[in-house]
Amino acid sequence: MTLTAVILLGAFHGINPAMGWLFAVARGLQERSRDLLLQSLPVIALGHLASVALVVLVVSATGSVVTGTALAIGSGVVLVGFGLWHLLARRHFRWVGMRLSLPQLAAWSFLMSSVHGAGLMLLPVLTRIPAGHHGHALSGGMFVAGVHTLAMFVTATAVALAVYEFLGVAVLRRAWFNLDKMWAFALVGAGVFTLVGAM
């Protein structure tokens, strides 16, 4: 059940054009090179993984000094707050520049995922990893981050190839549902869920 949720979240990030597959497609189209598209995706996934793993590190470090309940409550508050901020703030991620090296692309993906709060959604899962000694929580958390990112990578690759080879970017005009707004609602919901579970 938990693992399914982790995979589905990864797939959700993978589908979101803003999380990277669209950038990979654009790089491919610009140079008329599917190889460039395929090179870009693992790098984008790496940046995503780094962003999610950072959350795991923070949670496991925090979890080793506070009780499970405190961690869950703190996580819930962070989620609700971040979700509301996303919903209400009118600012959007800014970045200028199309011509990035692969390391720069990884950095872009890390920033984009972090601003998006990609790792935060794993908080409800991470706070449920049985408390034991510190190392166990950390390795369990990293496993979750890895599975999540793998799901994201597989989905993003499938979507990117479908758009690049068959659909064309014009599909964006109709199919680009405002996932960010939905994501903000989901963050708030997950926060409430975590808080209720902690009570």
Partner: protein, 462 residues
């Protein structure tokens, strides 16, 4: 709140944009030369099926006088789909309207109404204190926000440059340039967005233009004659390209819409050697930017008796290429000859070898060609600002250049008119000729088409 699906006027590629539905409204900036009445945004009906086709159907007076509206632009455009910072769920809704003389910037809401409604005024002081600029001119929606070029410094002549405005609050965020190198004069700008390249052109500082063209400065070759290429991402000057100081005033910049291409066109108002006008191509060669003159338009001899004072010594009418526009598919270039009263159409499928395929005469300093809708009316002014519909089939022109310059070249009055040319066959639409009192004594300048046009949007996908 943002939309749930992308704004339908955003297109990923120029190819997609060319399939856009025809515009039904056109917004035209109009100004009062005497600065006694407010300038205005006039709204024209461009739907041929409508009973008010070709008429002014909306009108919004500005709150102040003396702004001298010139160019303007949208708050958002197809660049919102760019992959590195996408925000496709914002709306193309607000017109950002700078006053070239007052240095105020107005924000007008166009949603669900014909006559735009004022929502914000940015005072000259805000632009000056935050960005160090005055005389705001070109507006483009881009990755970091709204980019607004400005001709002058704040409280001083220069340098002119680019200010950044916030996408949503429209607050002035500051000066765009981090390192401006040798650049001092400013006018237009645009970019090769997928190559992280920004291009700027040169006109003059406020004192060089506001009271009319200054003969000594022109003959002394003091107006702008260079292009500047910048790193869009790092905001740094990269290269200056000099056209030669006889080529005075390279103004409007029209880069290829295809984001994989690295070339563009710039119109040059006049050469001081023979009063000819020209269009130049910029392109990349061996990692450096180069320019080449690809269109040359000679002056037309005329009797001094028929010429305004400013031209009497020369005995010729300069073509005065004051605006050019490139169709969204990069296949057609339109060139305004404001002096000789001509709009030329070029096939630029090979950008190095433009081929003239069409021409229409309207007005002109000596010719005074009439519009077929009013054949007995000798027209003053000439085709000036050109705008092309996204599908490339309709071309709109207005006739005023800039208040004090209008008065020099058309001293008996520049009048006020707007015309439409059908691109196929290149003929004037006899049903579309708002003129004279339609503009209520104001002079029409730039046109923006509802939903976007050939000079409003940048695309990140080929």
């Amino acid at each position: 709140m943002t939309l749930w699906t992308p704004d339908p006027t955003f297109y990923p590629s120029p190819r997609d944009a060319a399939t856009a539905p025809p515009e039904t409204l056109a917004y035209v900036a109009a100004f009062d030369r005497s600065a006694e009445r407010p300038d205005a945004l006039a709204v024209l009906d461009t739907d041929p099926g409508s009973s008010s086709y070709g008429q002014v159907v909306g009108w919004t007076d500005l709150p102040y006088t003396g702004d001298e509206l010139h160019h303007f632009g949208w708050n958002a455009c197809s660049s919102a789909l760019c992959p590195y910072a996408p925000h496709p769920h914002v709306e193309r809704r607000y017109l950002i309207v700078p006053g070239l003389r007052s240095s105020r910037i107005y924000v007008y809401d166009t949603k669900d109404r014909v006559s735009p409604e004022l929502v914000k005024v940015i005072e000259a002081e805000d632009l000056g204190k935050r960005a160090g600029y005055s005389r705001p001119h070109t507006v483009h929606c881009g990755p970091e926000g709204l980019y607004v070029s400005a001709l002058g410094g704040y409280g001083e002549e220069g340098p002119g440059g680019i200010a950044i405005l916030d996408h949503t609050s429209f607050e002035v965020l500051g000066r765009w340039e981090v390192d401006r190198g040798p650049q001092y004069l400013a006018y237009d700008f645009w970019w090769h967005i997928n190559h992280d390249v920004l291009v700027t052109s040169e006109w003059g500082t406020p004192s060089m233009i506001e009271d009319g063209v200054v003969g000594e400065l022109l003959l002394g070759r003091k107006y702008g004659h260079r292009l500047h290429f910048w790193d869009l991402r790092r905001r740094r000057h990269v290269q200056e390209v000099d056209l030669g100081d006889q080529y005075q005033m390279p103004l409007e910049l029209r880069p290829a819409h295809d984001p994989t291409k690295k070339y563009g066109f710039v119109g040059v108002v006049t050469s001081v050697e023979d009063l000819s006008a020209s269009v130049w191509l910029w392109y990349e060669e061996g990692g450096r930017w180069a320019v080449r003159k690809v269109i040359d338009i000679p002056a037309e001899p005329a009797s001094p008796d028929d010429l305004p004072d400013v031209l009497k010594p020369f005995g010729a009418v300069p073509p005065l290429v004051t605006d050019i526009d490139l169709s969204v598919d990069d296949q057609r270039l339109y060139v305004s000859c404001w002096g000789t009263g001509e709009l030329k159409q070029f096939d630029v499928s090979d950008p190095f070898k433009p081929v003239e395929i069409g021409s229409v005469h309207l007005g002109g300093i000596v010719r005074r060609a009439a519009h077929p809708a009013a054949p007995s009316e000798r027209l003053a002014g000439g085709p000036q600002m050109v705008e092309v519909s996204r599908d490339g089939r309709r071309v709109y022109v207005t006739n005023s250049l800039y208040g004090s310059w209008d008065d020099q070249f058309y001293p008996d009055g520049v009048g006020a008119w707007m015309a439409k040319v059908d691109a196929d066959g290149f003929t004037l639409d006899e049903r579309f000729f708002p003129h004279g009192d339609d503009f209520r004594g104001l002079r029409p300048h730039q046109t923006r088409l509802q939903g976007g046009d050939a000079s409003s949007d940048s695309y990140c996908y080929p």
